[in-house]
Structure formats: structure tokens, C-alpha cells
């Protein structure tokens, strides 16, 4: 009896105390101030529970209360859910509260916006989205989300990021998996050490009072320093296909056997056509080049994602008939063609993006957003990588999209992680030469040639396919510091064999040099100026990264009108440090001719935050030196 009373009492006390805590949560005015600092939103309480029922089924429940502090936080609800026929959204409900915890609105599942996930370059996808569309009427306000979703496809498992992203802090976040199946679960945690995160068991973690982070220029991606937990089942199901995943080797084997095998059959006519095209070609590399070129001329990129088609390539014979496919289909088709001419190639899964993102070599999971092809050789650094979605890329050229990162290569024996081609600062060269006439009125008339190779080739070659109007505007933007620029001719040459792009431009600008009475202030670096200085931070908080190195070399011959003479000119200079190097010199070639030479290179590197100031000072100095002036004065 007594026991019972005690129980009841403690129950009442417990619920009371939890009530008051809960009430406090609903009141935005009670958020600790250090969580508000630099935040657009504060995750007040976020609890994720995942029950793994079997290798092909888990139930995801989430209760999440987030306070939105201002309109920039309106994207932080976290109330958007992707679904398809393998997803059953059992419960989805939102309540909105004002700053004092008063309920403003209740939104039920059927009042969520329901839209197809087709966007951008995708033509069709059977995936849909349900998302909350709410017009805030006052700030701050809080959104309470409660959801329960059953997943019958387990290839993708929800990860945990106790910090949502930049400008968002977290008061409390918890993540728990209960395994009711006989399947083993793998977990990997990253960057937990610097944050207040508690481990309750291998599958249960919580985080408290994580302050928000602000992005800074040149900072690496959020995931590379924010706490992050990822999970994968060692046995899973993808759209009805059972898979294994203990490591990259067996995951890759599964992909090969279940997704790739049997997709490579080609029509006889194509087989003989491609064979006749490589007749007489001896080296594998040259054969592959012929095949790549054939594929580029025959196909185009169209993305259609249906069912397992999100991971399984379209049949090679369909690609051949339709002449289009997505990255998977085109890579697999090219692989089939190569096989036909006796060149072995492997399908590879990768992250395609300008930013360098690796497939995690230490943790196998369904990762990546893109597929490419690689032709192996003895040494991994000699692998040839083929971007099959491009009709214009030179053979083996992958800069700016899939370069310098770990990819998962699928071989018949299984998967392995291989690093893709990286373009060194030395080979990523931009060489600008020009001859310039400087008139007594302050005008310039010039012929410029820009040659780019390596990674810099990718930054320039895009101009060749633009309409001529836009080509002209593009060049005017490139030299946006030259006022009233007039382009008189432009010729582009694309040497795909050697991967060199050449732009030859003739131009003039009426009042190039700034006037000061009877003097002209002439900046000899006319065609390759660094104009932007990196942002200054009173206190830099994040490390920084230069993800690709490059080298610029410039040589300008400047002929100055005979009626002018040099009154003053800047001194030659050379600067060198760990970030890169810079130098320029001005040499008098004849009575009226000057040769201006400049080199500038930046090295690829990852640097601690303490060195940011030195880096910024270096670039600021380059900006200043690039504006160096020669003072010209009339002889008479």
C-alpha cells in the first residue's frame, strides 16, 4: 500500500517536473543566451528513435521542437520528408507555438504540401516530398514536429547530426537505435571529441547545449568538422533486392553481382560497328579514346529515376537505342563498349561536385551521388577516369567535378576505394601573353592570348559553346575592372588531345589609364588582376582550405606612345611563402617598349585557423601589387 502511494507520488512529482521542463521548452524567451548568439534557429529538443525490425524494415520516430528566431531560420524546420512506395508515413503532425508557448496552429499530415521530387536536370523520379509550408506571423516561434515512418527499404539509414548546420544551435538532441532483428549494425562517429556529446551505449547518444557555428570563407565543408554519426545495416534491402555490407569489398561485390551483371548486353550491330572503329588501333588507351568519342557523339544526359533505377543502371542496349541515359546508364554503356574492344573498365560510385567530397574509405554504406568509369592500370594513380555524362570533355579529363577524391570502384571481385586524378598547381597553368599599344590619350589597343591547361582548362573552356553575344559579355566580365572595354575579335581553340584551351582576343579601351592632370596612372597588369581580398575575421574560428592549386604566368609587351615618358615606376618584387608565390618585373626592352612579367601560384593545402591572417595578408598584398602603377607624363 505504502509502496503504491510512493509510486503514485513520485509519478506525480515526475510528471510535474517534466511538465514544467516541457513548458519551459515551449517558451522561446527562456532559451539560454549563448545558444541564441549567431543563431537563426535553436533546436530545443530533438529525439530520434529507430527500431530495426528486420534486414528490410525499420521504424523511425522523431519528436522535434525547434525555435525559429528570425526569417533566415525559416528553412530549418526539418519538416520535409521524402517518400516512395517503400515508405509509409504513419504519423506526421506539427504544432506551432508563439514565444510564450501559446499554441498558434496545428497542421496535420494531409495539410502538408505534397509534391513530386522532380527538379532541375531530372526528367522524372518516382520519389515525392511532403513538406510543411507555414507563414510565420511572429518571431520567435517554435515548431513541434512528431512523426513516425516505416521504411521497407533499408539501404539508406538516417544519420545523426546533433548540429543541423551553420547558424543553428542545439539545446538537446538524442539518437537511439534499438535492434530487434538479427542483423548487425555498423556505426561510425566523427568529430564527437570537440562537442558535449554523451555516449550511453553503442547505439544511444545525446548532445547538450551545442553553440551554433558561423561559416567563414575558405572553410572546409560543414560535415568535415561538425559532429556526425552514420549507420549502416550489414544486411539490407534496396527496392526488393537483398544486399550485404560488412565492408567495401563485399558491398562492391553485391553491387557488381546484383546491379551490374546482365545489364551490359549490346546489339550485334553495335558490337561490330565499334570493333571496326578500333581496327588497327593497338594500345588500350587509344582504343578507349575511340570508344569514348563514339559514346560522346551518340548520347546525351537525361536523368530518369524509377525504383531500383536510382542505383541500377539502365540496360546498355536501351541506352544504345534511346541515345540517352543518366550517369549510371552512360557509364555502364561505355563499359560495355570498352569490353567489346577488349579494354577492361570498372564502374565507380563517387560524389560529383565542385567541392571535393570523398567516399568514406573507412565506412561502407550506400553513398555517392554520381557514377563514372575508370580504366585500371598497374598503379592506382595512373587510372584513367571517364566522365560519361559529358559530350565535350576531353578523354580522361575530370577536373572540377570528380577530381582528387576517393571513389568506390566496383570490380567483379568486389569494391575498393581508389583516389581519382588530381591536377597539380604546376600543370594547372594559365599562360597569358599580350601586346599592348598605349596611346597619348590614355587608350589601350591590345591582342591577348590566354592558354589554359590542367584544372584551369575547366574554368575557361565553357565560353566556346556560348552564343557570341554572351562570349563577348563573358570576356567583359572577366576583365570587369576595365571600363568601356570593346572586344573587336575573339577566336577560341580547343586542343582536346593535349587538353589546352586557347582564347585569342583583340580589344581596346578608350580611357584605360586614370588621369591626374597631365599625368596618366597606368597599371601594367592589364589582363590578370586579383581583385578580391578574403574576408577579415576578428577571430577566425574555423580552419581553412585551398582545395585546388594553380599557376598563372603573364607576359605583356607594352608599347608606349612616343610623346609620353615614364616619371615613376614600381620596383620589381618577389614574395614566396607556404601558401604560394608571387612576383612581377618590369623591363625596358627599347625606348618605347616595356615587358611586364608576372607569376602567381597558390598551393593546395589545409591550414589551421591561426594561419588565416597570414594567408589573408598574402592575398591582400597580391591585390595591392596587381594595382601597381607606372606614372606617365607628357614630354612636352
Amino acid at each position: 500500500m505504502l509502496k503504491n502511494i510512493l509510486l503514485t507520488l513520485s509519478f506525480i512529482l515526475l510528471s510535474l517536473s517534466s511538465m514544467s521542463q516541457e513548458e519551459a521548452l515551449f517558451q522561446s524567451i527562456l532559451i539560454p543566451s549563448e545558444l541564441i548568439e549567431k543563431s537563426n534557429s535553436v533546436v530545443r529538443y530533438d529525439v530520434t528513435n529507430i527500431e530495426v525490425k528486420a534486414y528490410n524494415k525499420y521504424i523511425y520516430t522523431k519528436t522535434r521542437l525547434i525555435t525559429i528566431l528570425n526569417k533566415k531560420g525559416n528553412d530549418d524546420y526539418g519538416a520535409a520528408f521524402q517518400y516512395d512506395s517503400n515508405t509509409n508515413i504513419k504519423k506526421l503532425e506539427v504544432k506551432v507555438f508563439d514565444a510564450f508557448g501559446k499554441e498558434l496552429k496545428k497542421i496535420k499530415k494531409n495539410d502538408f504540401q505534397d509534391v513530386s521530387a522532380v527538379s532541375g536536370s531530372t526528367l522524372y523520379s518516382d520519389t515525392r516530398f511532403k513538406y510543411l509550408d507555414y507563414t510565420p506571423i511572429t518571431y520567435p516561434y517554435s515548431i513541434l514536429l512528431e512523426t513516425e515512418i516505416e521504411y521497407n527499404s533499408t539501404a539508406f539509414f538516417p544519420s545523426w547530426m546533433p548540429l543541423d548546420g551553420f547558424y543553428s544551435s542545439t539545446q538537446f538532441s538524442e539518437y537511439k537505435i534499438s535492434n530487434e532483428s538479427d542483423v548487425d549494425i555498423k556505426i561510425k562517429t566523427s568529430n564527437f571529441e570537440n562537442y558535449a556529446i554523451e555516449k550511453h551505449s553503442d547505439f544511444h547518444y545525446s548532445a547538450k547545449n551545442l553553440k551554433s557555428l558561423k561559416p567563414e570563407s575558405y572553410s572546409p565543408s560543414f560535415r568535415s568538422f561538425a559532429p556526425y554519426l552514420k549507420v549502416a545495416l550489414k544486411e539490407f534491402e534496396m527496392e526488393g533486392v537483398k544486399g550485404v555490407n560488412t565492408n567495401w569489398q563485399d558491398f562492391g561485390k553485391w553491387m557488381h553481382d546484383r546491379l551490374l551483371v546482365g545489364t551490359e548486353e549490346l546489339p550485334e550491330a553495335v558490337k561490330s560497328e565499334i570493333k571496326s572503329l578500333v581496327q588497327g588501333v593497338t594500345s588500350d588507351r587509344e582504343k578507349a579514346k575511340v570508344v569514348y568519342n563514339y559514346m560522346q557523339n551518340k548520347t546525351r544526359y537525361i536523368s530518369v529515376q524509377i525504383g531500383i533505377g536510382g542505383w541500377k543502371p539502365m540496360l546498355a542496349e536501351d541506352v544504345d537505342r534511346l541515345g540517352y541515359a543518366d550517369c549510371k546508364g552512360l557509364s555502364n554503356y561505355t563499359k560495355a563498349l570498352l569490353k567489346e574492344v577488349g579494354v577492361e573498365a570498372n564502374y565507380a560510385v563517387i560524389y560529383g561536385a565542385r567541392n571535393i567530397t570523398n567516399i568514406d574509405s573507412e565506412f561502407s554504406a550506400t553513398e555517392g551521388n554520381h557514377a563514372v568509369l575508370c580504366i585500371p592500370s598497374e598503379k592506382e594513380e595512373d587510372y584513367i577516369w571517364l566522365e560519361c555524362t559529358s559530350q565535350t570533355n576531353p578523354f580522361g579529363y575530370i577536373a572540377n567535378w570528380t577530381d582528387d577524391r576517393d571513389a568506390l570502384v566496383i570490380t567483379p571481385d568486389g569494391g575498393k576505394i581508389v583516389h581519382t586524378t588530381s591536377y597539380s598547381a604546376e600543370e594547372s597553368l594559365q599562360h597569358t601573353t599580350a601586346s599592348i599599344l598605349f596611346s597619348k590619350e590614355g587608350a589601350i589597343d591590345a591582342n591577348v592570348t590566354i592558354k589554359t591547361s590542367g584544372y584551369q582548362y575547366a574554368l575557361h573552356e565553357g565560353i566556346q559553346t556560348l552564343p557570341s553575344n554572351d562570349q563577348e559579355l563573358n570576356l567583359k566580365e572577366y576583365w570587369d575592372y576595365i571600363n568601356d572595354l570593346n572586344i573587336t575579335s575573339m577566336v577560341f581553340e580547343n586542343d582536346k588531345d593535349n587538353v589546352v584551351f586557347t582564347e585569342k582576343v583583340a580589344l581596346s579601351a578608350k580611357n584605360y589609364a586614370a588621369k591626374s592632370g597631365k599625368r596618366f596612372l597606368f597599371e601594367p597588369n592589364i589582363f590578370n588582376k586579383v581583385t578580391g581580398t578574403p574576408t577579415r575575421y576578428k577571430k577566425r574560428t574555423l580552419d581553412f582550405e585551398i582545395d585546388r592549386g594553380f599557376t598563372d604566368q603573364d607576359e605583356f609587351i607594352i608599347t608606349i606612345d612616343g610623346s609620353l615618358e615614364i616619371e615613376a615606376q614600381p620596383k620589381d618584387i618577389t614574395v614566396k611563402n607556404k601558401f604560394g608565390s608571387y612576383s612581377f618585373s618590369i623591363e625596358k626592352v627599347s625606348e618605347t617598349e616595356l615587358l611586364y612579367k608576372r607569376t602567381y601560384s597558390l598551393n593546395k593545402g589545409y591550414y589551421p585557423k591561426e594561419e588565416y591572417k597570414a594567408f589573408r595578408d598574402f592575398i591582400a598584398n597580391v591585390v595591392k601589387l596587381d594595382k601597381s602603377k607606372i606614372v606617365l607624363i607628357s614630354k612636352s
Binding site: V115, S116, I137, L521, K629
Partner: protein, 669 residues
């Protein structure tokens, strides 16, 4: 004799064309073409387009609209590949209120070793996507497309609606041959208009055609099962036909700072104005602006929303109690609506959920908010009326159509004052409206339903005045103070961007791309007090404005405030430049020179004008011992620069940039 030959030749041309564009048959010439000789920059060209709109009578549904499209497109290069994919939007509300796409078929043609190869569009290239609760998309992508391919497809859209979508004559690629035919039964009377602002004008031909409807009726003989007979009756009527055979239609090309490119596209706009079915009274829809506004006014989602007061009366009574000045009352109510009901970013001139619900929920579309504002103002005894407008992205209302409008704002008028109000944005004020609404004219509706046009283009000059003090130190760093005042639209733009942000954001904005500039002690006055101008003050210091070359010092007097880049880079322009509002940028600059230096040269004072003072730039320099004073003023009295004036305007702007770049030179004493 001469005329006969001409006629004969004409006949030949016509039959030649008819043959040429038969579905399923392309010529070798079409496949061999590598560029469009009339527009060499075109990545693709529509070789042939047929657009046929007609109405068919169905006994179950009445008149249904059928749009038949046939397009043949030449793809010259890879950049033209996106023309091989097409996405058609169809209304999809319910089974009976949906549009349907049918009879879609297509071919891709390639020339392979001199032979024409055909590849059929199959089911695996056709997709249907339910986008949301209103729309679905039918998309398809053509097979086997390469540089040089010709693609061809035909389809029909069946619609239960009498509303005819705008018919475009122009794409962003050229069209070689265009055959249009629009047949509408005499019972459906349309207003037709070609976009008068388009540079390309097609030649339309009007005619009539005979049509008939056959009605079948079942009559029972009354004596048991199966004993009924069918009779049919025929009714004759006329179709009004608009047709057009156009050739070599130029591509529509985009340019920066165009208000809305669609405003300049060549298109036929058709609006149902009246139905005149036999044995039924006439029903008019849109014969005149007057009639359209009357119809809108009679719409319960418009007029009725203006007369409801019971949901707010107590709140408004409390709000304005004791206030007698009508302008003060209006300001109180305007602020009240802005803070009470937030815009859900949906446009519309009719209420979405009703003003009362919007009031209680705290959110609504543009009509919910502004109709509520009007009824509150009227309740308070102020003469307030709705103004129907078309926002910039909706184009210009060209002729009387209900679709011409998509938004409503409010006007208040009284003794000696008149102001436009839009309560959808917190930082809009009397006569300072969201930029989306500043689109030529709006239609003012009086409370008796009568209406009239009013101008929406702002004529008040928004000003941005900066006082800059600068002291040059012995180490050639500069420090000083800036005071800046912004009014009207300039203030509103500032508020939209910075009023709710951390002040750090503005400091970053000023410091960005200005090297070693450091801004401190920023104070922002009236950031949210929209009745007053924005006042900004801050201190600055910089080390990279003065350049020492030899023994001399050089700097531009506007320091980091000078604009260095001319945004107008193109040589020519086809459409007007939309600057949104008239403005005046003024700088008053005081510079104290360092000890031991004197002025060697200084820019000259000058005045530059654009179009007889529509734009004016003045640059006044005053030297007084160690002190320099400059007054620089740039004013645009108009916000629209016509394409004919582009070159002059570009030169005007270039001179401004060059003048701002001129340097002061100091030399050692």
C-alpha cells in the same frame, strides 16, 4: 499574263510546303543543314510548327477545346539538346476538371551514311508526374538525338475549359514556318490581341467556316422494353477562324535588367468576352475594363470581403480611439495590419481563405491582406479603395482580361493627399510599395464598382545622401566618419536587407571588396521606423586608398565609395532598362590633406547630362588650403530607359565611372 504566273508560283509554294511538313517525312536538306543561315547563333531551330485550336461539341460535355500541336525541330549542336525534351503542364484538379494529353507520337531522324533513319518515341520516353494538387506534367524526351538530328512530335490537349492559353509566335530559338489556326464557335466570343510591345508582329487573317452539330435523342415508344427509337437533328453554326502563316520568326533573346522578357514576346492573347448560345440569354465576361472590374467587384471573394467589419471592429475601435487626424488613423491601421497578418507569398486579387480567417490565422494572400486593410480604413471613415494590378512577373495588362490582373493594393485619397498602400511587406510605407507591384498602371475601383486607371511608376525621387570626412595621416592611412541618409525606396531596400539582420552584416557589406577598410561604431537610426529616413553613421579607417608612386601620392576622392564597374556592358539593347524607381545619389566629401603635401593636380568640375536632364551627374571640386571639398550628385528622374536611348545612356554611365576614377595627385612641399 504576269498575274497568272504569280498565282501559279504561289500555288506551287503552298503545295510544296504542305508536302514538306507532313508528319513522318523529313527531307535530306533538313537533316544536312548545319546552321540556321538567318541566325547563325541558334543552337536549334523550329523548322515547322503547327498550332491548331478548335472546339468540338460533345453531347455529354458541350464544347470541349482541342489544341493540336505539331513541331519539327532541327538540332544543330549539343547546346540544342534541351529542345529534345518537352514538358507540358496540364491542369489536374478532378476527373471532370482536368486537361488531358492524347495522341502523343514522335520521331527522331538522323542521316546515317546518306540514309534517313527514323527512331520512334516509345512509352519508355514518356512520363507523367503529378506535381501537386493543381497540376500534372506530361514530359517526353526524344530517342537517339545527336548534333544534326531533326525531331518531330505531335500531340493534342483536350480541355473542358473555354479559356484559351496565350499563343506564342516566338521561342528563344528561331521558327522557320509557323501555321496557326484558331477556330472558335460563334457562340463563344473572344477578344483578340497581339502583344503590342513585341518587336515581331505576325500577320493574322480572319475568316468564317461552316460547322454543324448533330444531336441524337432517344425516344421511348411507351410500350415495353426495347421499344425506343433514335432520332437525330442537325444544327448549323459558324466558326470564327484566325489563321496565320508566318515564316522566319526571329528568336526572342534575353538581356539583363529587363522587367519581364515575356512582356516583349510576340503572342496572341484571347479572352472570352461573351457567350451567345441559342435560346439562352447573352452572358458577358470582359468587354471592357469597366466590365471586368465590375465582374471582379461582384465576385464574393472580392466585394464581400470589403464589407465585412464584425471581425475587427473592436480591435480597430481601440486602436484609433481618440485619434482624429485621418492620416494618423490610416497610419495606425496600416501598421496594425502589417503586424497582425503576414503575407503567405501567394498573389491574387481575390481572397484565398476569406479576410476573417486570414485575420484570425495571422496570414493570408495579397487580397486577404489588402482588402482587409481597405475595409478597416473605410470603417475608420477614410476614403480607401482597391487598385487591381498586374505584378512585374505577370506582365502588363494589355487589354481587358480578368487574367490581366493578379494582385490588389489599396489607395487612400482625401483633401490634398493620395497614397498607395500595400500591407504585405513590413517595410513598405505610404507610396513606397514592394518592387513587384511597380508595373505601369493599376485599375482603381470605386465603391460603386466604377473604375479608372492610375499610374504606378513612382515619381518621387528616392535619395541616398552621404557625407564623408577623411583625414590623411602621415603614414598615408585614412580615417574618418560617414553619415548617410536614405529615403523612400532606397530606405526600403536597405530595410528589407538589413533591418532584421545583425549590424555586422552591414559592416561586412561595406567592407567587402574594399581591402583593408575597417568599419566601426556603426549606428543605424530608424531601421524599423518606416515613417522616418534611415540614418547611418560609422567610423572607418583604411590603408589601401592612397598610392605612393615616386614621391607623389595619388587617390580617388570618393575613396571606397566610387563605383568601379559599369553594369552596362552590351553594345546594343533590344528592350528598355528597368531601374525600378527614380533616384538621387549625393556625396559631400571633405578631405584634410597631410602635413607637408600640396595638391599638384585635381579633377575638374563637370556636369554630364542624359536626355535633356532625365539623368544628370555633377562633380564639383573646391580647394581650400589643406581642405578639399567635393560635391558629387547623380540623379535619374526617370526609372525607365528606352532601348533607343541605350547607347547614349551607356556613354553617360561610362563617363560617370571614368570621372569617379580620376585621381587627385599630391606632391611633397
Amino acid at each position: 499574263m504576269k498575274t497568272i504566273i504569280v498565282c501559279l508560283m504561289l500555288g506551287i509554294t503552298l503545295s510544296f510546303q504542305a508536302q514538306n511538313f507532313k508528319y513522318g517525312k523529313v527531307s535530306e536538306e533538313e537533316l544536312k543543314e548545319t546552321i540556321n543561315p538567318n541566325d547563325t547563333s541558334a543552337n536549334a531551330t523550329v523548322l515547322y510548327k503547327k498550332h491548331d485550336v478548335r472546339f468540338e461539341y460533345r453531347e455529354s460535355d458541350g464544347f470541349v477545346q482541342i489544341v493540336e500541336v505539331h513541331e519539327r525541330i532541327k538540332i544543330y549542336n549539343n547546346e540544342g539538346f534541351n529542345w529534345a525534351t518537352k514538358k507540358i503542364r496540364l491542369y489536374n484538379r478532378s476527373a471532370s476538371n482536368s486537361e488531358d494529353l492524347q495522341e502523343l507520337k514522335g520521331y527522331t531522324y538522323n542521316l546515317v551514311d546518306g540514309d534517313v533513319e527514323k527512331e520512334k518515341l516509345k512509352k519508355d520516353g514518356i512520363f507523367e508526374e503529378i506535381a501537386n494538387k493543381y497540376w500534372k506534367y506530361k514530359s517526353f524526351t526524344m530517342p537517339n538525338v545527336k548534333a544534326g538530328s531533326v525531331i518531330e512530335y505531335v500531340y493534342e490537349i483536350m480541355s473542358p475549359y473555354t479559356q484559351i492559353d496565350d499563343i506564342y509566335f516566338q521561342y528563344s530559338i528561331p521558327i522557320k514556318t509557323y501555321e496557326l489556326r484558331v477556330s472558335t464557335p460563334e457562340y463563344l466570343v473572344y477578344n483578340n490581341l497581339l502583344n503590342p510591345r513585341a518587336a515581331y508582329v505576325p500577320n493574322l487573317v480572319n475568316s468564317k467556316a461552316n460547322k454543324s452539330i448533330t444531336f441524337t435523342s432517344k425516344q421511348s415508344n411507351g410500350t415495353g422494353a426495347g421499344a425506343s427509337t433514335f432520332s437525330s437533328s442537325k444544327s448549323n453554326y459558324l466558326d470564327n477562324v484566325i489563321s496565320c502563316n508566318a515564316t522566319n520568326v526571329p528568336a526572342l533573346k534575353d538581356e539583363p535588367l529587363v522587367d519581364n522578357l515575356d512582356n516583349y514576346a510576340s503572342k496572341l492573347i484571347m479572352e472570352l468576352s461573351m457567350t451567345t448560345f441559342p435560346n439562352t440569354p447573352y452572358k458577358t465576361y470582359s468587354t471592357s475594363w469597366e466590365q471586368i472590374t465590375k465582374n471582379i467587384y461582384d465576385d464574393p471573394d472580392f466585394g464581400d470581403q470589403l464589407s465585412k467589419t464584425n471581425y475587427f471592429d473592436e480591435d480597430v475601435d481601440a486602436l484609433i480611439s481618440g485619434v482624429t487626424n485621418p492620416i494618423e488613423k490610416a497610419a495606425l491601421i496600416f501598421d496594425f495590419v502589417k503586424s497582425k497578418v503576414k503575407w503567405n507569398e501567394f498573389y491574387g486579387f481575390t481572397s484565398e481563405s476569406g479576410v476573417k480567417k486570414a485575420y484570425n490565422d495571422g496570414s493570408g494572400n495579397s487580397a486577404d491582406i489588402n482588402l482587409m486593410l481597405i475595409s478597416m480604413l473605410r470603417y475608420a471613415g477614410i476614403n480607401a479603395n482597391p487598385v487591381l494590378i498586374s505584378t512585374k512577373n505577370n506582365g502588363i495588362p494589355l487589354f481587358p482580361t480578368r487574367q490581366g490582373f493578379n494582385y490588389v493594393i489599396c489607395i487612400i485619397q482625401g483633401d490634398g493627399f493620395s497614397a498607395l498602400l500595400d500591407a504585405t511587406e513590413s517595410y513598405s510605407t505610404f507610396n513606397t510599395l514592394p518592387l513587384r507591384t511597380l508595373n505601369w498602371q493599376g485599375r482603381l475601383i470605386l465603391d460603386n464598382g466604377r473604375s479608372t486607371w492610375i499610374e504606378l511608376q513612382p515619381n518621387v525621387v528616392s535619395s541616398d545622401v552621404t557625407y564623408l570626412n577623411a583625414k590623411i595621416n602621415p603614414d598615408f592611412s585614412i580615417e574618418g566618419k560617414i553619415r548617410n541618409q536614405k529615403t523612400d525606396y532606397v530606405a526600403k531596400q536597405f530595410r528589407n536587407r538589413f533591418a532584421d539582420a545583425n549590424p555586422e552584416e552591414y559592416i561586412k557589406y561595406v567592407e567587402r571588396n574594399n581591402g583593408e577598410l575597417v568599419v566601426s561604431e556603426l549606428e543605424i537610426e530608424n531601421a524599423r521606423n518606416v515613417s522616418q529616413p534611415i540614418n547611418l553613421t560609422y567610423n572607418y579607417s583604411t590603408t589601401n586608398e592612397i598610392e605612393e608612386v615616386g614621391d607623389n601620392l595619388y587617390f580617388t576622392p570618393m575613396l571606397f565609395l566610387a563605383s568601379e564597374e559599369n553594369p552596362f556592358k552590351a553594345e546594343k539593347r533590344s528592350y528598355p532598362i528597368d531601374l525600378s524607381y527614380p533616384f538621387n545619389d549625393k556625396y559631400v566629401i571633405n578631405i584634410m590633406l597631410p602635413e607637408g603635401y600640396e595638391v599638384e593636380s585635381i579633377p575638374q568640375s563637370k556636369k554630364i547630362q542624359f536626355n535633356e536632364g532625365q539623368g544628370e551627374f555633377t562633380y564639383l571640386v573646391n580647394e581650400n588650403g589643406r581642405f578639399l571639398q567635393l560635391t558629387i550628385n547623380f540623379e535619374m528622374k526617370t526609372s525607365l530607359v528606352l532601348s533607343n536611348d541605350y547607347e547614349i545612356f551607356k556613354n553617360f554611365y561610362t563617363s560617370i565611372i571614368e570621372t569617379q576614377a580620376e585621381k587627385i595627385m599630391l606632391k611633397k612641399i
